[in-house]
Assembly symmetry: C2
Homo-oligomer: 197 residues x 2
């Protein structure tokens, strides 16, 4: 008897068989696919619906070259080869959208988020939640994601973002190629993670 | 033509129809359900497979009372009524498990994560990714999640955790009750979130 309502094929697609890919085929990832991913994962929750995630799709060869210079050496070949590379960032000025995003509490913009350090902390946490939703959304599109934090953060920020946007991770996206992954590493057992009070 | 490989029923279960619940029925949430959720979401990626999320299930009436005292007033009634309440936290000493979790790079423990401030930053981001996976895992079990950050963080840390564990959020879990949610708030349009370089 399964304890899960989610169909086993969907469990496999999103969690059990999905893996972080290190190689990709040349099959392109279209803007229509990214749009479908976004239109699915945008519904997952953030605090006060603040939705601070911003995404830069690195589409031109010139932009890819600029990005590669800031990637850790071990991440360069796969970032060069991925059909699509996305830079995920947190918008530290997300509060400007709150009157639209939170119509039953439009004062949140000024009452809760007037201070930049408060916004930065909140944007980091909530854009990170959305980055996780996005990774699963990539998998929901039948694609493999390769999230990476091995890059020069100030460099990527300077090249692709601005003072109001903080990079979180770079994600390679595509169909897995040959030898796309390492053997699955162990996970912690339930009793190592979950305790009861 | 759909751009997504995920079955529409699974899209609905996890994203489109799932909502942050504010009321719950009295139907219990079992440890078997939590175990099934964990055994699904544990596979989703973290940096260096560090897996820093830790979960405290608040099961006793006494522990629930202690937790309620630290919740923001607006969150108290639903936290009192939820069949199960979970405290999600980041383990800042996750590096002790790295030789097991990252068998192909066991030196990561000392090479990358010898310094506590580095670990705290990494644990916050990666446990937050896992918190997002967990929320979707709760939905995968056919349950509603009610994640909250409106509580006294130092108070919850002192009552339920220790200096090595940082609280992230408190999540109410159960079957949605009557008037379980507000109307769905707007989301940002694709072009407000995604740009191209």
């Amino acid at each position: 008897m399964s304890e899960l309502a989610l169909h086993p094929a969907a469990q496999d697609l999103l969690f059990r068989q999905a893996r972080t890919a290190n190689t990709f085929t040349t099959e392109p990832v279209t803007d229509q696919q990214v749009r479908a991913i976004y239109d699915l994962v945008k519904y997952a929750p953030t605090a006060y619906n603040q939705s601070p995630l911003r995404i830069v799709l690195v589409r031109t060869d010139e932009a890819r070259e600029r990005l590669l210079r800031h990637m850790a050496e071990g991440n360069r070949p796969k970032t060069a080869a991925a059909p699509l590379v996305a830079i995920l960032a947190a918008d530290n000025e997300f509060h400007h959208e709150l009157p639209t995003l939170l119509p039953h509490f439009p004062q949140a913009k000024d009452v809760l988020f007037a201070d930049r350090p408060v916004r930065e902390e909140s944007a980091l946490v909530n854009a990170t939640l959305q980055a996780a939703y996005f990774i699963l959304g990539v998998r929901a599109a039948g694609l493999a994601a390769g999230p990476m934090t091995g890059f020069d953060f100030p460099g990527v920020r300077k090249e692709f973002l601005d003072d109001d946007h903080t990079p979180l991770m770079v994600v390679n996206i595509g169909h897995p190629g040959t030898n796309a992954w390492f053997p699955r590493a162990p996970r912690l057992a339930y009793d190592e993670v979950v305790t009861t009070a």
